[in-house]
Subunit: 404 residues, 2 copies
């Protein structure tokens, strides 16, 4: 069987850990053919970025990718050496050798094609193939990177094109949990999830995997497992459909929390078509991601718009809105950066009205005020006061029976 | 004019120095088209090698080259960023992008071809082209390195194929000196040298440049200048012929010293053809470089062979000789690791018998015993007691009028 494995930066943070990964990979290679994707050693990428910023404030994307892609080349060659130390045949490949072709959006390149000829040749020679994660090359041979967490995407994409039996994402946690164990101590490891649930988990702060990698897995139907590189315990399997014995399980599979919400309310906009569009276009132009949006009438042909942004973008967002005063009528602007988002995730829960009701009454029982609500096929999110985030998560976790 | 410049590891040891190099390159780029070759930052290569040895005792050559080639990719991208900071167009290229094709002798690969298409395209676009030194790629796209000091070779080879007007090797010394200034304080910078003289200077411990790079320059007639990256002072120009005003100069252009000589004498070999061949083949098989060789009759169909090796190879050489006792008759083996070599370098000096005589009598005047002598078209070397090396160098430097 052909298996793609991916080991993250903490799994290969130093020579000792690289040797441990090599032992694990060596043992597995006796049973399966392996393609192993690695991230850079520990904080190498951050150190390289810091070096660049010592040189210039605004390094070009092309040169930045040339620079930081060296991190994965280093870990790939070291892991290959460690496998030789275990008397296994192994070869490391950087993105140009592995022919991972991308567009030229430096820093967030998209994979366009993977020519698997070289990888397949090395597998046929009996090699364990170590691929430097996170990187690609353009058709002009310029080096690109796939964005933070891009090694996950490398692994999922390789599993797809190589038609691997499975893709295993090794990390420093045991799998995906019903909630962040640092916030909800009774959180439990999930045995399985479907792609959509994992997408919400990843994008709402579970922080286990790059969202783009999960989207790619969903699109190409790549089943993968998130598991620990430190233990032999099974992890969480993410597939198109849940396993049968999970079908009868609770609708809600997890609670996620995000303490970095900031809310902005623009008061007294004139109630004409196109006004909201102007506000959000201006924010988008400055690359500010808007999360929830609520619009309400303020009487007398006026309306208020409230929305949330990531806390780090608050100041930028406020100054964007100030610049709009020339074009549109704006009353006051109110902001609050002490907000948090708590979400309940689960497939098909929107067809079960009980879920939303249970969530709202659970929060009400604890005296937690809900500021904003948004819903989708797969989640219900509430923006609440940040100080109450932990209490909300713990209560919801228990209310939806996830403690058991 | 197209100029190839090379900056060594100490010139790009930290962000501050990289920015200084960028300022220098930026200024020059207003006058000339530039291809700039860089070494790795300071001791990066050594640190990467250490990392590899923490993983395994005998890392494979392929993976080692994959690992250490990242050092030059890092410095190339950083220098390119620094040039952008100086508002210049620049692009960094690693060996696979610059198409520096080599054989697959990892760690000491030989350049076979350079396809200049990409470099020329970037020059035409108005870019300063920064090339990662020291590295190449095989036709299978595997990364190779050119051996210690290989960035010099990259620069000279690029100057040759690009038909550059000149190649400038920037280092932390002002040029090539008549002797090592740490040993002979009155040493003077030379204005010019011919290739053969530079070859002797490089191989006999002047330590300024990789010998293979000088050989390549000689073979392809690439005129180059060794100069300081810290000052604007002209350096030493190395060409096929000396400049006219230097033609009348002294024959002797420099004194070199090498304190790392070890001498081995194998006593009582039988005086038959092929015996010496066996000794030196066995040493060559273990990659031990033998420098001087002297053979003398010891009477009764016996002979003694003395030779010198680098001090670090002494132990290995002695054990090789012990293994030969099964095949050939060997008397005793005597070794001395406290030897040094002092050499007088100069074109055409062998046709001037006075040079040798002056050298020997100068050493004799100081009571320095000559243990071994070797001569070539361009140098006379004497092996002497290591404790007398400095005195010998200073005396010879003065005797040949190099102090003036």
């Amino acid at each position: 069987m052909l298996i793609v494995q991916k080991f993250g930066g903490s799994s290969v943070a130093n020579p000792e850990r690289i040797k441990n990964v090599a032992k694990r990979v060596a043992k597995r290679s006796e049973k399966d053919q392996l393609v192993v994707v690695v991230s850079a050693l520990g904080d190498t990428t951050d150190k390289l970025i810091e070096l660049a910023h010592q040189i210039t404030d605004l390094p070009s994307g092309r040169e930045m990718d040339m620079l930081i892609s060296t991190g994965e080349q280093i870990s790939a060659s070291l892991l290959s050496m460690a496998l030789h130390g275990e008397r296994k045949n192994a070869v490391s490949l950087c993105a140009s050798q592995a022919q991972i072709l991308t567009d030229s959006s430096y820093g967030k390149a998209r994979i366009q094609e993977i020519n698997t000829k070289r990888i397949e040749k090395e597998l046929q020679k009996g090699n364990i193939v170590i691929v430097a994660g996170f990187q690609g090359v353009t058709e002009d041979e310029d080096v690109t990177t796939l964005g933070r967490g891009g090694s996950d995407l490398t692994a999922i994409a390789l599993a797809a094109v190589l038609k691997a039996e499975r893709c295993e994402i090794y990390t420093d946690v045991e799998g995906v949990f019903t909630a962040d164990p640092r916030i909800v101590p009774s959180a439990k490891k999930l045995n399985s999830l479907i792609f959509d649930e994992m997408l919400e988990m990843a994008s709402l702060g579970a922080g286990v995997m790059q969202t783009r990698a999960v989207e790619f897995a969903k699109k190409h139907g790549v089943c993968f497992e998130v598991r620990s590189s430190l233990t032999e315990a099974p992890g969480t399997i993410i597939c198109k459909d849940k396993e049968v014995n999970d079908m009868e399980k609770l609708l809600v599979s997890g609670i996620t929390t995000d303490p970095n919400e900031a809310k902005i309310t623009v008061v007294g906009l004139s109630d004409q078509p196109g006004i909201a569009g102007k506000v959000f276009s201006a924010l988008a132009e400055k690359d500010i991601n808007v999360d929830m949006i609520i619009q309400s009438s303020a009487g007398e042909e006026k309306k208020n718009i409230s929305f949330t942004v990531d806390k780090v973008d608050l100041r930028k967002a406020l100054s964007v809105i100030e610049t709009l005063r020339d074009q549109i009528e704006i009353g006051s602007v109110i902001s609050d950066c002490d907000m948090a988002k708590v979400s309940v995730i689960g497939v098909g829960m929107m067809s079960q009205p009980g879920v939303a009701a249970k969530m709202f009454s659970c929060l009400a029982d604890k005296g937690i005020n809900i500021d904003m609500i948004s819903t989708s096929e797969i989640k219900i999110s509430c923006v609440i006061e940040k100080a109450k985030m932990e209490e909300a998560a713990v209560s919801l976790h228990s209310a939806f029976g996830l403690d058991k």
